[in-house]
């Protein structure tokens, strides 16, 4: 696909939340809880997509915010809370993933894959197994590739922010997300075409 030159979409405005960070650093009662309320759902959703387990996501979310508190009160430099918290969450998830032996990291199918036409989103949502389908499809991605895809598609982060979190360059981020999408679509298409094709 040859991209025509268009201005990149306007980046969402991310408030610096400097005041909240300073209140947390000053030890103000309730400030960190306010931060937790603002960001915990998003962090937990990210971790749930990475770890594919509610219990593991709960545990990792708590660990993420405990670490975030320690870092903030320790004077860590934070420009924007959401990407920074997702970066902390990513590190926590990596530690959990390292200790899990039964993860499937299938990167062998790196070749460009031709997939079936996109299923109608409405029809996809009608399926009662939509969540299980997504879980299985994500499970087939490597940890890093899954993180990149989730940060882009579900968290809506810009490629620069994802590059910062994963410590990759932007070109690699785009490449990994593209490959993740191809794998995800192949899995979804296989499922949509019937169980015999899903193998």
């Amino acid at each position: 696909m040859n991209a025509m030159e268009l201005p990149s979409p306007r980046a969402p405005v991310v408030p610096l939340e400097r005041a909240l960070i300073e209140r947390v650093r000053a030890g103000e009662a309730g400030a960190f809880r306010e931060l937790f309320r603002s960001h915990a759902a998003r962090v937990r959703r990210f971790l749930r997509n990475l770890l594919d387990s509610d219990a593991a996501a709960d545990e990792a979310t708590q660990e993420c915010f405990v670490r975030a508190h320690a870092a903030l009160t320790g004077g860590a430099a934070v420009e924007s809370l959401a990407p920074w918290l997702l970066g902390v969450a990513r590190n926590v998830a990596r530690e959990q993933q390292r200790s899990r032996k039964n993860l499937v990291a299938l990167e062998a199918d790196d070749e460009e894959q031709r997939v079936s036409p996109a299923p109608d989103p409405e029809a996809l949502l009608l399926g009662r197994e939509a969540d299980a389908l997504l879980s299985r499809a994500l499970e087939r991605l490597s940890d890093d590739r899954r993180a990149a895809l989730v940060l882009r598609v579900d968290q809506g982060l810009g490629y620069d922010d994802i590059a910062s979190i994963l410590r990759w360059n932007v070109a690699r981020v785009k490449n990994e997300i593209h490959r993740a999408r191809m794998q995800l679509r192949a899995a979804i298409a296989a499922k949509s075409n019937g169980p015999e094709d899903a193998r």
């Binding site: 696909m1 268009l6 979409p9 759902a41 219990a55 997504l134």
Partner: protein, 367 residues
């Protein structure tokens, strides 16, 4: 417009965001199957993730755990908590005898040096998070999910728990007079190390965490899903593992080890009145003594079985298989091949039954 729309613009459209040259882009998409297809996929992806996000529910219940741990980290608390069983009452307080203190000073200093060494050693193994004195043989119960568990013989009659998790907190709870259960305030995620007196019974359950046990020698029960199990010396042993491998250097007493795909390896088995080694596709290796009162069963569907008998063994081996081969590495000369393999060593007192579908059996000598 002859070229395709770039991915970031399509992503923005899929998210219903406004983009530059919107009308032009819409016109291109309407006439370009490839861009239209890509946009449809992007919308499907978003729909799937959005549906999951809608079902996530509240996270408010997680706050208490975060708050407690933050508060706990702030406390200037001791590095570990002592949960000792009742100890003799302290002796009556006396006025200090300065001459005794002076005489003891060199010992105190030497002791302090020792203590510092011990503390440094302990820190390298993780922070001490719980400790309890025990009297007599007890059963220690440990439950973890993904955290690895290592259990080693300690230097005294205490159960000590060390954790690599930051801010880990645990208690050793007496369930009854003989059973102590290790309870964490939150599920450990990193290695847990437990030191117990030799002979302590162990009851360990993990999900994916590995279990490593030193020369404890007590009766042991382990259940794990995918964790590997490695032990130096155990008493009577009952192990169930789904996909993890099981390797035990020495077992004194009866054995029951069951796996699905994990391998089983018992380096030396003695006084096993009954031994059951069972797996679906894993390989089985057993070495040891089998004679009077010994009953050994080894079953594997597709895995190979290797049994090594010491010179003093006296056993009869029956081998039932569909397609597995048989190798007699001891060459006793007492082998019948019809209808199944029947092999005898010495007077053939002990009973050994091996069943496979396609797995082979090899018999060898052991030291």
């Amino acid at each position: 417009m002859s070229t395709h729309i770039d991915i970031e613009s399509l992503e923005a459209l899929a998210a219903d965001e406004a983009i530059a040259n919107g009308a032009l882009v819409a016109e291109h998409i309407a006439s370009c199957a490839e861009c239209s297809e890509e946009l449809a996929w992007l919308r499907s992806e978003r729909a799937l993730f959005s549906q999951r996000a809608d079902e996530m529910g509240s996270v408010d219940h997680l706050w208490d755990g975060v708050d407690e741990r933050i508060a706990g980290a702030k406390e200037q608390r001791a590095p570990y908590r002592e949960n000792a069983l009742p100890l003799p009452a302290p002796s009556r307080a006396r006025a200090p005898r300065w001459w005794l203190l002076a005489a003891a000073l060199p010992l105190v200093l030497a002791g302090a040096g020792t203590f510092a060494v011990v503390r440094r050693a302990a820190q390298s193994k993780g922070a001490l998070v719980a400790q309890r004195a025990v009297h007599g043989t007890v059963l220690v119960r440990v439950r973890t999910a993904s955290a690895d568990v290592r259990i080693d013989p300690g230097a005294d009659d205490r159960v000590s728990v060390l954790s690599a998790d930051r801010d880990a907190a645990a208690t050793l709870v007496a369930i009854d007079e003989r059973t102590i259960e290790l309870r964490f305030e939150r599920t450990p995620t990193r290695r847990v190390r437990v030191e117990v007196p030799r002979g302590t019974g162990l009851d360990v359950t993990t999900s994916s965490g590995d279990v490593t046990i030193g020369a404890i020698g007590g009766g042991t029960k382990i259940i794990t899903s995918s964790g590997d199990i490695e032990a130096a010396e155990l008493g009577a042993t009952d192990i169930t593992s789904t996909s993890g491998d099981v390797r035990v250097r020495s077992i004194v007493g009866s054995i029951a080890i069951r796996t699905s795909s994990g391998d089983i390896e018992v380096g030396r088995s003695t006084r096993a009145s009954s031994a059951l080694l069972s797996c679906t596709s894993g390989a089985i290796q057993w070495a040891g003594h089998c004679a009077t009162g010994c009953r050994l069963q080894a079953r594997s569907n597709s895995g190979d079985v290797r049994l090594a008998f010491d010179r003093a063994s006296s056993a009869t081996v029956r081998f039932e298989t569909s397609s597995g081969s048989f190798r007699d590495g001891i060459a006793t000369g007492n082998t019948l091949h019809q209808p199944s393999v029947l092999w005898q060593m010495g007077a053939g007192v002990g009973s050994v039954d091996v069943e496979t579908t396609s797995g082979s059996l090899a018999l060898d000598g052991a030291e």
